[in-house]
Symmetry: D2
Subunit: 141 residues, 4 copies
C-alpha cells in the first residue's frame, strides 16, 4: 500500500522541526518510502544517560517524532490535527556511539486513531528499541 507521496521531500520534513526538540537532539530525516518513513539520531552526550549509553527517553523522543509526523503527513491538514495519545517501547540493546535509525510503518490508519510500528536499529541493523505509538486524529470543527 502506498501511504506516503513520493513528492514529499526529506528537506520539507526537516524544516518542520526547526527549533524544536527533534532539532535540538539532531534528529534527521533519512528517507520517505511508499509505506514507511525513516529518521536517524546521533548517540551523543545530548541523547545519553549517565552510563554513557543511549537514553531510553531519546529512543522514545525519536519514536514519538517519527510517528506523529507520519500521521501528520497522512491526514488532511485543513480538517484535522493529530496528537500522540499513547506510546510504549521495549529497550532491547544498548548503544554507545554512532547513529540509530528509526523506521515507522502504519499498523492501523483509522478515522479517529492511527497506530504506528516503530523500529529503532543500530548501524549494524540490530534492533535497539521497538515502539508502538497511538495517535489521535482530531477534527478542527
Amino acid at each position: 500500500m502506498i501511504w506516503f507521496n513520493k513528492s514529499l521531500k526529506v528537506d520539507d520534513l526537516q524544516r518542520l522541526h526547526k527549533s524544536t526538540m527533534a532539532d535540538f537532539l539532531e534528529m534527521e530525516w533519512v528517507e520517505v518510502g511508499e509505506d514507511y518513513l525513516r529518521m536517524r539520531m546521533p548517540v551523543i552526550d545530548k541523547t545519553k544517560q549517565p552510563y554513557g549509553l543511549l537514553h531510553g527517553g531519546a529512543s522514545c523522543a525519536l519514536a514519538e517524532t517519527i510517528g506523529s509526523v507520519a500521521s501528520a503527513v497522512v491526514i488532511n491538514h485543513e480538517e484535522y490535527k493529530c496528537v500522540g495519545l499513547e506510546i510504549n517501547a521495549n529497550h532491547v540493546r544498548s548503544v554507545s556511539s554512532g547513529f540509530v535509525t528509526a523506521t515507522a510503518r502504519p499498523l492501523h490508519l483509522g478515522k479517529k486513531t492511527h497506530v504506528w510500528d516503530i523500529r529503532i536499529e543500530n548501524e549494524e541493523k540490530q534492533l535497539v528499541c521497538i515502539s508502538r505509538l497511538t495517535v489521535a486524529i482530531i477534527p478542527y470543527f
Copy 2:
C-alpha cells in the same frame, strides 16, 4: 514504606546527570521523599514539538530519567546495575509553557525488576502524562 534515604540530597542526584540528556533538557531534581522522588523540566523550545506544545518524547525522557535513577538509588551499586526495559505513557493534556513536574513511586521492587508509577503534572497539578517504567536489575557477576 521508606524507600529513599533522607540523607540523599537533590544536589547529589543533579550531579549524576552532568552533560547527559537530562542536563541538556534542563531537568532538575526537586525533592527526595520517603517513598517518592520528584523532578521538574521546563516547557521550552528544546522540549517542544512543532505545534509549540510539550513533546510527548520529552515527557518520556523525564519518566525514564526519574524511574531509572529511582531504581539506581534503591539497589546496591557494587553488585547490580539497572537498565530501562519497558516504558509506556499516556499523554492526556497539552502544555505550552512553564514547568512540568514528575513524581515517581514504586509499584514493585523485586529482585530482578522494578516497576515505577510516574505522574507528570502541570503547574496547576493537573495530570499531563501517566507512565509506567519497568527496570531490569542486573548483577555485575
Copy 3:
C-alpha cells in the same frame, strides 16, 4: 471527586455480563465506590496457565472488563458508546489459588478518551498486576 452514583448496584452491573467472557470466567462485582469500582475473579482452572498459576491473560481480561464498564457507567449511553483502545499490564506476582480483586480508578476522563488505573491484588492485598486501559468514547451520530 464523585464519579460513580451510589444508586448504581452491583447486581445491575452483574446482569450486564450475563453469558459473556466475564461471566464465564466467574468475575463478580464487589463494590461501587465514589471514585472507584471493584471486581473479583477466582484463580481456578479456567483462569490458570499450564504451571498452575493465574494466567496473565485472565488479569488482562479482568482489567479490560472493569475499565470498560467503568467508562460505560460514566458516559451518557444515548449519545455515546465506549470501546477499549489500548491496554498495558505488568504482572508482578504469581497467584495459585483464592481470589484476585481489581480496583479501577480514573486517571483521565476526557471527551474522547478515558484512561483507567487498574490494580489487581491477591487476598493479602499484595499487588499482582498493574494495568492501564485507554477507552475511546465514540458518539453514535
Copy 4:
C-alpha cells in the same frame, strides 16, 4: 532465522493447555513455522463482551498464551522457566463471529528476556489486535 523445530507438533502444544484458560477459551494451535507460531480462537459467548463483540481481554489472553508458549519452546526447560512480565495491546477492529488467528514472531530473544510481536487477525486477514509481550527467563538455580 529458524527458532522453532519442525519436529514440534501442534498436538504436543495443544496437550500443554489441557484444563487451562486456553483450553476453556477453545484456543487451538494451528501452525509451527520456522520463525513463528500460530493459534486461533473462536469468537463466541465465552470470548465476547456485552456488546456481542470479541472481548479485548480475550485478545490479550490469546497473545499471552502464544507468546509465553513461544518462549517456553525456545528455552532449555531443565535450566529455565519463563513468566509473562509485561503485555500491551492495541485493539483496532471489532469482530463478532468466526475465528481470530494470532501469529507470534520474536523481536528479541535475550538471555534474561524475550520480546514477542503478536498480530491477531480476522478471517479476512485484517488486523484486529497488535500486541507485544515481554517474557522473563528465570534460571531454576
